[in-house]
Symmetry: C2
Subunit: 341 residues, 2 copies
């Protein structure tokens, strides 16, 4: 790959696309400023958020700015996405969400009706997740300096036992709580004008109650929600952080027929695009079946499947294909569909 020297010194779309290009920017310019661990999960862990030990428990905190375009898409909108994204990051760290903040940045000239519709969705989703929005901020930028609307949501929660990305052990089973690719492909289909021909809807939703059920059963060793960069990115992170291999089976990975065919038409790997309503859960083998059976009974998790097994290794992920071959799953340089969250 030849990289233009001039480009090397500038921010590119890939720097925000959740893949390896983004990770290296963060490593190069951010992480050097801190070597603190303070006993919890911190910046260096590049996890879904941070945990701060306090009085025999842990506060978990996570933040995301949401820049998805279009702001209304099949199955959701930027308000629902902002709340779900933050709730889900808290949940996959094992925390019970207790409060959210919401900071809006609006374009001058934007219709107040659009803002209102977005805010309605934001609060409705928070209500669905049973979490309060407790404080916020409102800024306006001139037209030409900002397009439409950006929402930052930050969430806090508590847990006695934070669950990191890195807790997998050989023998653990990998559970996925729903089908892959719905969010990224709903947005791409919509952008490409396929929305009237396809039924693809984003999976965007808060999954705290689904995760609660798994935690209640026990045996959870690691969790992550496969947003930007999709399953490929997240599963590789989990493998490399735990220094184990993961063997996935293609025919076990749930994918909707319409997502599969849209992926083929659009030339996009559905395993590398963002999801906004599913979790990857690593569990001790003896608990895998119970979690699988219980989650399949919950609305929003009916497609839950055991998709693979953790093995001794050095951080590689392999996929046994439906025709019996085996190939490595590499983490994408960036999500092939940018600006999805």
């Amino acid at each position: 790959m030849t990289v233009n020297k001039k480009q090397e010194n500038k921010i590119t779309i890939e720097h925000g696309a959740g893949g390896q290009v983004m990770d290296s920017l963060i490593k190069n310019i951010i992480l050097k400023h801190t070597d603190k661990k303070n006993g919890g999960i911190g910046l260096h862990d590049l996890d879904d958020g941070a945990s701060i030990p306090h009085n025999n428990e842990n506060i978990v905190i996570t933040t995301d700015s949401h820049v998805v375009r279009p702001i209304f898409f099949p199955g959701g909108d930027i308000g629902r996405l902002a709340v779900s994204g933050t709730i889900n990051d808290l949940s996959v760290m094992g925390a019970k969400p207790i409060a959210l903040t919401s900071a809006l940045i609006l374009e001058e000239g934007l219709e107040i009706e659009v803002v209102e519709k977005t805010i309605n969705s934001l609060f409705k989703t928070a209500q669905e997740a049973e979490v309060d929005i407790v404080t916020g901020d409102t800024k306006v930028m001139e037209a030409g300096e900002l397009d439409k609307i950006i929402i930052n949501t930050t969430g806090i929660g508590y847990t006695n036992h934070p669950i990191s990305d890195s807790g997998l052990k050989p023998g653990d089973k990998i559970i996925l709580t729903g089908s892959v690719g719905n969010h990224g492909l709903s947005i791409l289909s919509h952008r490409e004008g396929f929305n009237f021909k396809s039924n693809i809807k984003s999976d965007v939703k808060p999954i705290n109650k689904i995760i609660d059920k798994a935690l209640e059963i026990g045996g959870v060793t690691a969790m992550k929600d496969p947003t930007r960069g999709g399953l490929s990115k997240s599963i590789n992170e989990m493998a490399s952080k735990a220094n184990v291999n993961i063997e996935l089976k293609e025919n076990k990975i749930p994918i909707k027929k319409e997502v599969k065919s849209a992926s083929e038409i659009l030339g996009i790997d559905p395993m590398s695009v963002a999801n906004e309503g599913i979790a990857i859960i690593g569990v001790k083998p003896e608990k895998a079946n119970e979690i699988l059976e219980k989650l399949k009974k919950i609305d929003g998790a009916k497609d839950t499947a055991v998709i693979g097994t953790v093995k001794e290794g050095k951080g590689k992920v392999t996929l046994e294909t439906t025709i019996g071959g085996k190939r490595y799953i590499e983490p994408p340089a960036g999500d092939p569909i940018p600006r999805v969250c």
Copy 2:
């Protein structure tokens, strides 16, 4: 005032300028979604943040997206502003800051050097305040959709006794921990190209240690940092929330000579522009002198002054002018200098 019907339905710069126009947007489209009080300070209180009672103490949380332009200005930059703004909001709620998040949104094509310089300042300021940045987020938007850089910082802290905006009682003294108008006027002078002729520097800094000193002495009844809309906005909020009158004395309000003359040249009221490194502290009369004397010894609070007194009343603020007259101080519709934080 005649308002064009079409404009009424669209977002204007004033909606983000921290004044009454912003407050009415928030009241109309946000607050109707929540009537929860959960025992702490929440959305309805329109305070500097929220407090959440938990295990005999309170978590305090506050969020701000920073959109200041230019991103480097005399006395500071967007990184220093982001950290200071959030630390200060926690501090004026009586909380000891324990962690910050930092969510960046970058324009495609922005020089990485600019990002790096901003991040350096962000972490340096956090270090100065002795608070860790524990987690973050990075997004990129296309050039034309975003100008340069936006930083959201959210902070959490703890306190046994949250201090609200609304705690003033008749008899209390009003202390201001520094001179007014420096931040807003440094930015406006810079924008207008006056920067080589003036020495005005922003006061942007974390003031948690200054506030700590006041809290240590005790008797603090209310606090607020007068950012957007300046002293006029904040002091009116404090008066109306507590349903008391406040009498300020113009000759007691600290203001730098260069700020005063720039205000006159530019036709801007220095009492209505943003400050980023001072606090308004309401204190019981018997503690006022001790707090005044102790704060004046701290770097960054040397201009601390008792600027007024709280009286029985209905939320009005009056100013006794230097020539002996008296006039009402009204809250501005919006900060006269937009995009300062």
